[in-house]
Amino acid sequence: MAAKRLRYLPQYLAISPFFVLFAIFGVYPVLYSLYLAFQKWDGIGPMQFVGLKNFEFLVTDADFWNSVGNTFIIWIMSTVPMTVLALLIAVGLNSSIRFRGLYRVAYFAPNVTSIVAMAIVFTSVFSNQFGILNALLRGIGLDPVSWLTDPWGIKVAISVMIIWRWVGYNAIIFLAGLQAIPGEVYEAARIDGATAVQTFFRVTLPLLRPVLLFSVVMSAINGLQIFTEAQVLVGQRGGPQDAGMTMVLYFYNQAFTESDFGYGAAIAWGIFVLVVLFAIINWRVIQRPERAEVQ
């Protein structure tokens, strides 16, 4: 009996490294943070059980809801232009142009560049008084914008950083999707007398739908976790009027700056609930009946 159970031991051992590491660095911290969400803890001293107090505080915390709003606004402000831009780039890369390989690498490079280093470069671009962007605006006779102090300026700056970072990644994904569309479909469209614009909107886009949805889901996952861009551009406290305070930055701020780990954990679970709700909405969108016609 024992021997029978142990028959697959080598196989289990072979796959165990992932599960062992995941249990230690994934499952355990997650469960522990749930425990922590019911405690009051400064990070060093003894914990004190406070029941649902942290959650009570969370739902009435205007700063938290402000950070939720900011996160979704920045997500929309970055995802919509990024998807359009990535699609245009993908179509461009799909056509027969010179140095195609070079462009593909160039567009993907931002995705693997150190984000902190890039944030410092972007800081010099958006800097209120001495930034390149404002110098440019002045050069063409426009009023400079306080990118890093105006609430909308801050959101634009963060969104631009996200777009810059992810547009190449998504363009490569779209490109793969475009190349998977069979040539016969285009041929048929041409025979039917469709213009280039008609072909794009009636043939390319519908056939690209699964890839587009993948990209939107991915950007939602990344978008709800915006942290570094905001932290490096406007600082840990979220900038003037908390305009750059995202959910994860707020969580980090409470736990690691203000040493309120119990409340930090409660915020993290609040974010979790919102992400689950968002994922359900996403899933409903994907399950729409049009999917059948794509396949």
Partner: protein, 420 residues
């Protein structure tokens, strides 16, 4: 022994073998420090000098606090000694995790150090957790060249007399800005608030833990900050802790946009590095409103240290007046031991400040600072006020509304922390 028994045994062995040591490097005495937190020359000499104790300085880079909290909460890999910044009061609630340096005979060295700094490292019930490292006495940095150009008094003593109070400073600034259009007296409102509060002997909580952060002294600092905005004396270049804050600030120094800068002594190295072209143009003098302190660190011994007396021997050598003078010369860390102020090495004329003896100005400021009680919540409370000042300055928020919002946020914070 069947195979399962063998596996269980192996697992048990592996688990016990994995037990983490309590101190960072058993058998050695480790000191956590951060870049430019101590002179590397002094540290290097200490390694030689205390070779028999196996003294090991470990540079943890920036953000020491989260790292220290991680090892303290896990009670493993704790350093024997560690630097702690001016947020030392945040550790007073967990004083049992550190050694009371008074039990190691620290009291006999007390007279060599500034009294207020000594008190800042002591818990309300008198345990000395942090041994004095550096201080941050404030002074007013100003552009001697531009003052001269505008025909204003430009020598340190004359300027100090002209700006002796905050009101004088603002009036002086209005005149100066008329003579030098396009330039600003002050970087931002936040700075006025911070350095006005730095001069106060009372901060946000009293020693009994009662909130006093809405009383006259705070209201006065707030009113000064608001006034500086309303008189349009500020450039709006606030430091947000991110790189973006310093980009504009550094550019303003280089371009001469900021005429004065009230700041602590540690700003000298930042100005020198980021605005090298302005060498010789700056001077420093007594800050409007008088002496104040902002920042300054300590060294603590953790209760995990097996040889606290030996660790104390190392610390008291590292931070003796002689080495504090070297800290100032090598890393710009202003001493907490008055004997080091007049040391010929610290008192050498500084060409960046037109040959001025800057240690004299900072030393006088450091000597006049009044002892104050800092609570664990001071930094958070101060941040709430300055956040609102940024809103007033950058977004034109109504100052009364901003004050009320700040008070509300502080109430919520303190209620959650159980202070109110």
């Amino acid at each position: 022994m069947n195979r399962r028994g063998f596996l269980a045994g192996a697992l048990g062995l592996a688990l016990t073998g994995c037990t983490s040591p309590r101190v960072a490097t058993p058998g050695q005495l480790t000191l956590w420090w951060w870049t430019r937190g101590l002179s590397e020359n002094v540290l290097g000499e200490a390694v030689q000098r205390f070779a028999s104790l196996k003294f090991v300085p470990a540079n943890v880079g920036h953000d020491l606090r989260p790292k220290l909290m991680a090892v303290l909460s896990g009670d493993a890999y704790v350093p024997d000694m560690t630097m702690v910044n001016d947020d030392i009061a945040g550790y007073f609630g967990d004083a049992d995790r550190f050694v009371d340096l008074n039990t190691l005979g620290a009291a006999r060295l007390k007279s060599q150090y500034l009294d207020w700094k000594w008190q800042a490292g002591s818990t309300p019930d008198g345990k000395l957790l942090g041994f004095p490292l550096d201080t941050g006495p404030s002074a007013m940095y100003y552009r001697h060249d531009l003052f001269t150009q505008a025909g204003f008094p430009a020598e340190p003593d004359d300027v100090a007399r002209a700006v002796s109070t905050w009101d004088d400073y603002f009036t002086f600034g209005q005149e100066l800005m008329k003579a030098l259009p396009g330039r600003y007296l002050i970087s931002d409102a936040k700075r006025v608030f911070t350095y006005s509060m730095a001069q106060e002997p009372r901060k946000y909580l009293d020693r009994q833990g009662k909130f006093i952060g809405d009383q006259a002294h705070v209201q006065q600092a707030w009113a000064r900050a608001i006034k500086s905005v309303q008189l349009r004396l500020t450039a709006g270049l606030f430091d947000n802790g991110a790189a973006s804050g310093s980009v504009d600030q550094h550019a303003a120094w280089n371009a001469g946009i900021e005429l004065t800068l009230i700041n602590a002594s540690w700003a000298t190295s930042e100005i020198k590095e980021s605005a090298p072209r302005t060498a010789g143009a700056w001077r420093i003098c007594r800050s409007p409103g008088g002496a104040g302190n902002q920042g300054g660190s300590f060294i603590t011994i953790t209760s995990a240290c097996p040889q606290p007396d030996k660790a104390f021997e190392i610390i008291s050598w590292l931070l003796n007046p002689d080495n504090q003078a070297r800290n100032y010369v090598d890393a710009g860390l202003f001493p907490s031991a008055p004997a080091a102020f007049g040391d010929p090495r610290s008192a050498a004329p500084d060409p960046f400040f037109g040959g001025q003896n800057t240690a004299e100005v900072f030393g006088r400021s450091a000597g006049e600072v009044k002892p104050a009680y800092f609570s664990a919540y001071d930094i958070d409370i101060s941040n709430i006020y300055t956040d609102e000042l940024v809103n007033v300055e950058s977004a034109g928020k109504n100052p009364d509304q901003a004050w009320q919002d700040a008070r509300k946020a502080i109430d919520r914070l303190l209620r959650r922390r159980g202070v109110l």
